[in-house]
C-alpha cells in the first residue's frame, strides 16, 4: 500500500493506493497516527486509486476516525468507486463517514 500526501488549507488529502487489507491496514493506521502526532487533525481520504478494501481496512478507517473525532478534527472520504464502493455498500459503512464524489467537493466541505 502506498500513500500520496497533499497538504491543503482546510485539510490534508491522503490518497491511499493499492490494497487496504489485513496486511496493509495497520500501515494506514500508523501513517495517520504519525500525522496526528504531528498536529494534523483534518483529513480527506482519497480512495480513487484504491483497488481493494476488506473489513480490516474498514476497521482501520473507524479507528483513525475515532481519534480524529477525539481531537476535534474531521475525516471525510472521497472518490470511492468500483470494488471499494461495493464493500462500503454491503457493509453499511457508507453511512458512518461523510462521503464525497471528488476530493474537490470534500475540500469544499472541509472549508465550511
Amino acid at each position: 500500500m502506498e500513500f500520496q500526501i497533499q497538504k491543503e488549507t482546510a485539510a490534508t488529502v491522503v490518497a491511499v493506493i493499492g490494497r487496504m487489507d489485513a496486511v496493509t491496514a495497520p500501515e494506514y493506521e500508523k501513517k495517520l497516527a504519525g500525522m496526528m502526532d504531528e498536529g494534523e487533525k483534518n483529513f480527506i481520504i482519497d480512495f480513487g486509486k484504491l483497488d481493494y478494501i476488506s473489513s480490516a481496512g474498514l476497521r482501520a478507517l473507524l479507528m483513525t476516525g475515532k481519534r480524529v473525532k477525539s481531537l476535534g478534527g474531521l475525516m471525510l472520504l472521497a472518490n470511492i468507486g468500483g470494488a471499494v464502493k461495493d464493500v462500503f455498500a454491503i457493509s453499511g459503512f457508507g453511512t458512518i463517514f461523510p462521503m464525497h464524489d471528488t476530493v474537490q467537493s470534500a475540500l469544499g466541505a472541509a472549508e465550511e
Partner: protein
C-alpha cells in the same frame, strides 16, 4: 444378454478395473462416462476380449466367454467394436472394407456382401463413397464407414470406444446421428463417450465410472440432473477445485491471493467474482484467526463450469465450533460482508471436522 460379475483387470501392479458387475439387457443403450484413465475403455476391451480380464466372469447369451474353450472369433462377430481411431484398412476401398469380414468370416457371397454393404453405406449416408479409399474421406466419414463395417458383420451388440474423440467438432454430429439411428432401431450398445448431451439423449442407462469401478449408475435423468454421489456430482457439474492449507494466523495473504488469482484465471472468472472471492476468503480467515492458533485450516474453492457456482469450503479440526457463530471479533463488519457476499452458508460437523460451506452470490 450380457452378465458381468466381479470383473477385474490388472496391468502389472496397476489395477484398472475392480469388481465391476453389470447386466446388459437386449436393446439397452448404455453410455459409460467418467474422467479419463478410469478404466472405461479397458472395460469395453475386456468385454470384447481385446484385453484378457484378470478375474470375474462375462457371460454373453449364456456363453461364458472367459472359458478357455470359448470360440472367441465367433463371440467377436456377434459383439463388434467401433474404435476412436476408425481402424479402417487404408489399402482397401470403402466397399472392400465392408465386404472383407462378411466374405472371409461369414462366408457370405461377394455379390450379396456388396449389396448389403451398399445398403449399410446408404444407412450411414455414404453410398457415393463406396469406391473411395479411407484417405479420401474426412474423419467423420471414416467413422461412419467404420460403423457400417461393424454392422456388416450383423452384430447383436456394438461396443463404441469414444467414437467421436478423434473428430473435429464439426464432424461429431454426423457420427452421433448414425449412432442415434441405431439406438432407435433397437441395437444393443455400450458407448464410452465424453459427449454428455448425446449420452443423455440416447441412453437408457448411464454408468459413471471412476477409479476402476462403476461408481454410480442410473437413468440419464438421475446421472445428469440429480447425481446421488459426490464424485458423480463433481464430474457432471464439471467442478474444478483449488485447495490451500493454512497452518498459522501469520499466513501469507498475498501468496494465497496469488494462487486464488491463478485458479480464477484458469477458470476465466470475471474480475468481480475474483474480487468477491478474495474478499470472502480474507474475511473468513480474519474470523478464523483464533482457530488458527490451535489448528490448521483447509480451504477448498470449487467452481462448477456447468452452473457457474463458486463455493468456499473451510475445514478445521479441534472442538466442535461454527467459527461464524463463535467469532470473537470486536464488530460485525466481517460477518456482514460475508453474509452479503454469499447466497448460502452451511455448517456441519463431520468426521471430527468442522466444515463450513459458503456459496458465493452470482456476480
Amino acid at each position: 444378454m450380457i452378465q458381468i460379475k466381479h470383473l477385474s483387470k490388472k496391468f502389472g501392479a496397476l489395477e484398472v478395473l475392480r469388481d465391476v458387475s453389470i447386466t446388459v439387457r437386449k436393446g439397452e443403450v448404455i453410455s459409460i462416462i467418467g474422467p479419463s484413465g478410469t478404466g472405461k475403455s479397458t472395460f469395453l476391451r475386456c468385454i470384447n476380449l481385446l484385453d484378457r480380464p484378470s478375474g470375474g466372469s462375462i457371460v454373453i447369451n449364456g456363453v461364458d466367454i472367459l472359458d478357455p474353450k470359448a470360440d472367441v472369433p465367433a463371440i467377436r462377430r456377434k459383439m463388434n467394436m467401433v474404435f476412436q481411431s476408425f481402424n479402417l484398412y487404408q489399402h482397401l476401398s470403402v466397399m472392400d472394407n465392408l465386404t472383407l469380414g462378411p466374405v472371409k468370416l461369414l462366408q457370405t457371397g461377394r455379390q450379396e456382401a456388396e449389396k448389403k454393404a451398399l445398403e449399410l453405406l446408404k444407412l450411414v449416408g455414404l453410398a457415393e463413397k463406396a469406391d473411395s479409399f479411407p484417405d479420401e474421406l474426412s474423419g467423420g466419414q471414416k467413422q461412419r464407414v467404420a460403423i457400417a463395417r461393424c454392422l456388416a458383420m450383423e452384430p447383436s451388440i456394438i461396443l463404441f470406444d469414444e467414437p467421436t474423440s478423434a473428430l473435429d467438432p464439426t464432424m461429431v454430429s454426423e457420427v452421433l446421428a448414425v449412432i442415434r439411428r441405431l439406438a432407435r432401431d433397437g441395437m444393443t450398445m455400450l458407448i464410452v463417450t465424453h459427449e454428455m448431451k448425446f449420452a443423455r439423449d440416447v441412453s437408457s442407462r448411464v454408468l459413471y465410472m471412476d477409479e476402476g469401478v462403476i461408481y454410480e449408475e442410473g437413468p440419464p435423468e438421475q446421472i445428469f440432473d440429480n447425481p446421488q454421489k459426490e464424485r458423480t456430482k463433481i464430474f457432471i457439474n464439471r467442478v474444478r477445485s483449488f485447495n490451500y492449507r493454512i497452518a498459522s494466523p501469520d499466513y501469507d495473504l498475498y501468496a494465497m491471493n496469488a494462487e486464488i488469482e491463478l485458479f480464477c484465471e484458469k477458470q476465466i472468472l470475471p474480475l468481480k467474482s475474483r474480487q468477491s472471492l478474495q474478499l470472502l476468503v480474507e474475511e473468513v480467515l480474519q474470523i478464523c484467526a483464533d482457530t488458527l492458533r490451535s489448528t490448521a485450516i483447509e480451504l477448498a474453492i470449487t467452481h462448477s463450469e456447468k452452473t457457474g457456482e463458486i463455493k468456499l469450503l473451510v475445514e478445521s479440526g479441534g472442538a466442535e465450533e461454527n467459527i461464524l457463530e463463535s467469532a470473537a471479533l470486536p464488530d460485525e463488519l466481517g460477518l456482514t460482508i460475508i453474509r452479503n457476499l454469499t447466497r448460502s452458508i452451511a455448517y456441519k460437523r463431520d468426521g471430527g471436522q468442522n466444515r463450513l460451506t459458503l456459496i458465493l452470490k452470482e456476480q
